[in-house]
């Protein structure tokens, strides 16, 4: 199935210059106006802040990705205090324009056609590592390997009457490739998205990113001018009807828990764009938020992510540049091993919502909890007119973020690897009840969890998960849903004993030998927050309310 070719992104190159100019003029106007109203945000302060933060960053080392050298910022720091206001505005305009140009992506229809027609075949060949004679057959298999579920028909309709903002969960750099493929496979239009500038140095992906509408986000730059350019670029694209993708977790989830704390900066641009569309009386002003969960049996960068998570005690270092994704042989190894399994990835689209977090029906009408239609323009009324209000709109976006987090939870697909990891980790917890997490992870390496400690828990967990799935609190992979518990456990064990440098476990005749407790914790974490802890422990075998 091929995506709609009348999507706005096919006109991107015709509009690119206008978009850059629009971003530049809006950001400059906004910063100048803010400086006029708030003395704390004077142009001198804003430019000095940028110079200070950039010099501090560049002192630690520069790279070819840097747009301006250390000396440029030094000059600004030296001169901006003495300069008159018109000079400051000129500097701001020059800087904003340069950033906007750097951020703006490209879209080459030829590359898109190539990517959507040839790449899946290439991926199949890569994933199966067989002769080219069988690639067509393998292509068919790819659609069995990536299973797309959920509200795709609904989204196809909404894409015709408004702008989609796809917001997926995020655990791997393969996510954007998987999303791109899944959108096309579902007949949904291509999306533009912000990708870390460091990813553009990866030879596998940079060519496609450069030409498929991805825009560059340099996460090392922390000053307010750059952040404003990024947000404004997103707003302008949405206002012009470019379907977009944001990872609301901000960065890959280190712990593998279903994301609940979402970064709302870019998501807020959906509401700003909708408001501006109404004020400017644009056709099809609506913006629809489309949650998507990406559910892997195995996560390519699992070892690096959980290592980082445990090192920072749940905190997040912003960028990891040297993980498994940067190593092509690792990607190949991951792909070929995981694709030999019957199922690998579930892409599940949740019900779409408006920027206020209300569900949206197939006609694009928002519905209240009793399915009554809502005139959402009225959320934006101030004295009977649509007006932006930053404090109010932030609160709306927080509510929308909560709705997205709830959707992630409901639409998470439990697969056999996660299932077994949760069972085994609970058994370990019970074996060492007095140990904190870090001690437990140290002593668990090489531990044998006997078969009898697994099966009773597995039966309880499968029954509970099926019950939760019936009540639409979670979704189940075909293995967890359909297999008998013994077969399910063996399937999970097979998956968890492959790919990773130190496999998660080794199946022994009398039990499961834990090879990598950190990774076991990583996969088990996917079921954290569902109230299953009591169920998995021996002492509370009737479980808590999920």
């Amino acid at each position: 199935m091929f995506a709609s070719r009348n999507a706005r992104i096919f006109q991107f190159m015709d509009e690119r210059e206008a978009i850059i100019r629009d971003v530049e003029s809006r950001v400059v106007a906004e910063i100048v106006e803010r400086a006029r109203v708030h003395s704390d945000d004077s142009l001198e302060y804003v430019l000095n802040e940028a110079a200070f933060l950039e010099m501090k960053r560049l002192e630690k080392g520069s790279s070819k990705l840097d747009l301006r050298p250390y000396g440029y910022w030094q000059d600004i720091a030296r001169t901006v205090g003495k300069a008159d206001e018109s000079h400051r505005v000129r500097v701001l305009r020059e800087l904003t324009g340069a950033y906007a140009r750097d951020v703006a992506g490209k879209f080459t229809p030829g590359v898109y056609r190539f990517a959507t027609r040839v790449l899946p075949v290439g991926l199949s060949a890569l994933f199966n590592a067989q002769s080219l004679d069988s690639v067509v057959g393998n292509y068919r298999k790819l659609s069995q390997r990536i299973i797309i579920e959920g509200a795709t028909a609904h989204l196809r309709r909404l894409a015709e009457i408004g702008t989609l903002v796809v917001v997926p969960t995020h655990t791997s750099n393969l996510d954007s490739i998987a999303v791109g493929w899944s959108l096309d496979e579902s007949g949904l239009p291509p999306v533009t998205y912000g990708a870390g500038k460091n990813l553009f140095s990866n030879p596998l992906t940079s060519f496609f990113m450069h030409n498929l509408g991805a825009y560059k986000v340099d996460r090392r730059i922390r000053h307010s001018i750059y952040k404003r350019v990024l947000k404004c670029y997103s707003e302008v694209l949405l206002e012009r009807g470019y379907h977009s993708l944001f990872f609301p977790g901000g960065t890959r989830c280190r712990s593998n828990e279903v994301e609940t704390k979402l970064k709302l900066g870019l998501m807020g641009t959906a509401l700003t764009a909708y408001t501006n569309n109404l004020i400017r009386n644009r056709p099809n002003p609506k913006v629809f938020i489309c949650p998507l969960t990406i559910n892997y049996h195995l996560v390519l960068e699992g070892e690096t992510l959980i290592g980082e998570h445990l090192r920072t005690d749940g905190g997040r270092r912003y960028i990891i540049e040297d993980d498994e994704f940067a190593d092509l042989s690792k990607v190949y190894q991951f792909a070929s091993k995981t694709m030999s399994m019957e199922y690998t990835i579930y892409m599940r689209f949740g019900e779409p919502m408006d920027p206020f977090g209300n569900p949206v029906d197939i006609g694009g009408i928002s519905r209240d909890p009793h399915e009554r239609p809502i005139d959402i323009e009225r959320y934006l009324w101030v004295d009977g007119e649509v007006k932006p209000d930053p404090a109010r709109d932030r609160a709306y976006t927080v509510e929308c973020g909560h709705a997205v987090a709830r959707s992630f939870k409901r639409n998470t697909v439990v697969v056999s690897s996660v299932f077994l990891a949760a069972v085994l980790f609970a058994a370990l917890r019970e074996t060492y009840p007095r140990l904190d997490l870090y001690r437990l992870l140290r002593v668990a390496r090489g531990e044998l969890v006997p078969n009898e400690a697994v099966m009773a828990r597995a039966e309880r967990l499968q029954a509970r998960l099926r019950d939760m799935a019936r009540n639409r609190k979670i979704c189940l992979g075909h293995d967890v849903e359909g297999l008998g518990v013994a077969e399910l456990v063996e399937t999970g064990a097979k998956v968890l004993s492959m790919y990773h440098a130190t496999p998660v476990l080794k199946r022994a005749s009398n039990g499961f030998e834990i090879g990598n407790p950190d990774l076991l914790h990583f996969y088990a974490n996917r079921l954290a927050g569902y109230g299953l802890e009591g169920l998995l422990g021996e002492r509370l075998d009737d479980g808590g309310d999920a």
Partner: protein, 332 residues
């Protein structure tokens, strides 16, 4: 249109609702007072008082229009304030859901959690309506003192600045201050808990305990509130603020119905006899729900649990006090 909506609507014509309507009208707000009971609405509109329910009110302000037409109220009011018992909130919110749009501000002045579900009133409102701009009005303000025009204070909690602004527009004046808070959960939970603690204070007063004991009782109640509020997602500071400690002190000083209920319990009256004399008390439901909430979050609440047991008729007052005094010693 929101632009032409100039009024405030008070939903619920009980003691609290009548008082809020009177205060809003006294502050120059065109005010609608909605009662589901059309006879009560009609009587209020024609006779301008309801002595059987609120003898302290001499005459309903001319700026108040009493009605049972909720659609009319929603069409005229930018702000709706639900003033009812915790157990009635969902039924009223469901009706509100049929008439509001996204521009409405929906506040509540409910002191309690929904019985059974333990849900805060703003969550109930969210589950029943499309309203986003919701908030809670709580604090030590008292019916008798508001009607007498004595200085009072509320706290209005909401994530939305407009909600705070509308609450101030409706109620703030020479004699009423409206403080702002962003801790919606904390304020709602603290308000629910303070009514329970007030029953405990009434018991202590009836038993003739000294000032030191009373002070201990009040501060330990506040500490308990803070623990539960924090465990349930609010900020402990809200329990020590107007909605928690502030309201508890006001209830204690005013000899409120909650304190009176505590006195009657200590005097050996049954919960049924108390309800018969004082009418429905939110504190009865609140005690049960607060105890359940504490258990849900694994927080120890000695005073709250004892009050809940007393109100449920499971222990008598002397036994309850003895059980509190024989607790093992603990850190403050």
């Amino acid at each position: 249109m929101s632009g032409t909506r100039q009024s405030v609507g008070i939903l619920g014509a009980g003691r609290w609702g009548l008082t809020l309507a009177q205060v809003a009208a006294q502050h120059g707000q065109s005010t609608y007072l909605w009662s589901e009971d059309s006879r009560r609405a009609g009587r209020l509109q024609s006779q301008r008082k309801l002595k059987s329910l609120l003898p302290e009110l001499d005459e309903l302000h001319a700026g108040v229009t009493a009605t049972s037409d909720l659609a009319l109220v929603a069409s005229q009011c930018h702000t709706l304030v639900i003033a009812c018992g915790a157990g009635e909130t969902r039924a009223i919110a469901r009706q509100v859901g049929a008439v509001v749009d996204g521009s409405h501000v929906v506040l509540h002045a409910v002191r309690g959690l929904e019985p059974g579900t333990l849900r805060r009133a703003t969550r109930v409102i969210r589950e029943e309506t499309c309203a986003r701009k919701v908030g809670a009005l709580a604090g030590p303000a008292l019916v008798e003192e508001l009607l007498a025009g004595r200085p009072n204070a509320f706290v209005c909690a909401s994530r939305y600045p407009e909600v705070i602004r509308r609450a101030r527009q409706a109620f703030a004046g020479d004699a009423v201050r409206v403080y702002a808070s962003k801790d919606l959960a904390g304020v709602e939970l603290a308000a629910a808990a303070s009514a329970v603690a007030a029953v405990g204070v009434g018991i202590a007063l009836q038993l003739g305990l000294g000032s030191a004991t009373l002070a201990t009782f009040v501060t330990r109640s506040a500490a308990e509130m803070a623990r539960v509020v924090e465990a349930a997602g609010g900020q402990a500071a809200s329990a020590m603020g107007l909605a928690g400690l502030g309201e508890l002190l006001a209830l204690r000083e005013s000899g409120s119905r909650e304190v009176e209920a505590g006195r009657m319990l200590a005097a050996g009256k049954t919960p049924a006899q108390i309800t018969k004399k004082l009418g429905h008390l939110d504190a009865v439901d609140a005690a049960k729900t607060f105890k359940a909430l504490a258990e849900h979050y694994g927080v120890e609440t000695h005073i709250g649990a004892v009050v809940a047991d007393l109100l449920a008729g499971e222990v008598d007052a002397p036994t309850a006090i003895r059980s509190l005094m024989t607790l093992s010693h603990m850190a403050e």
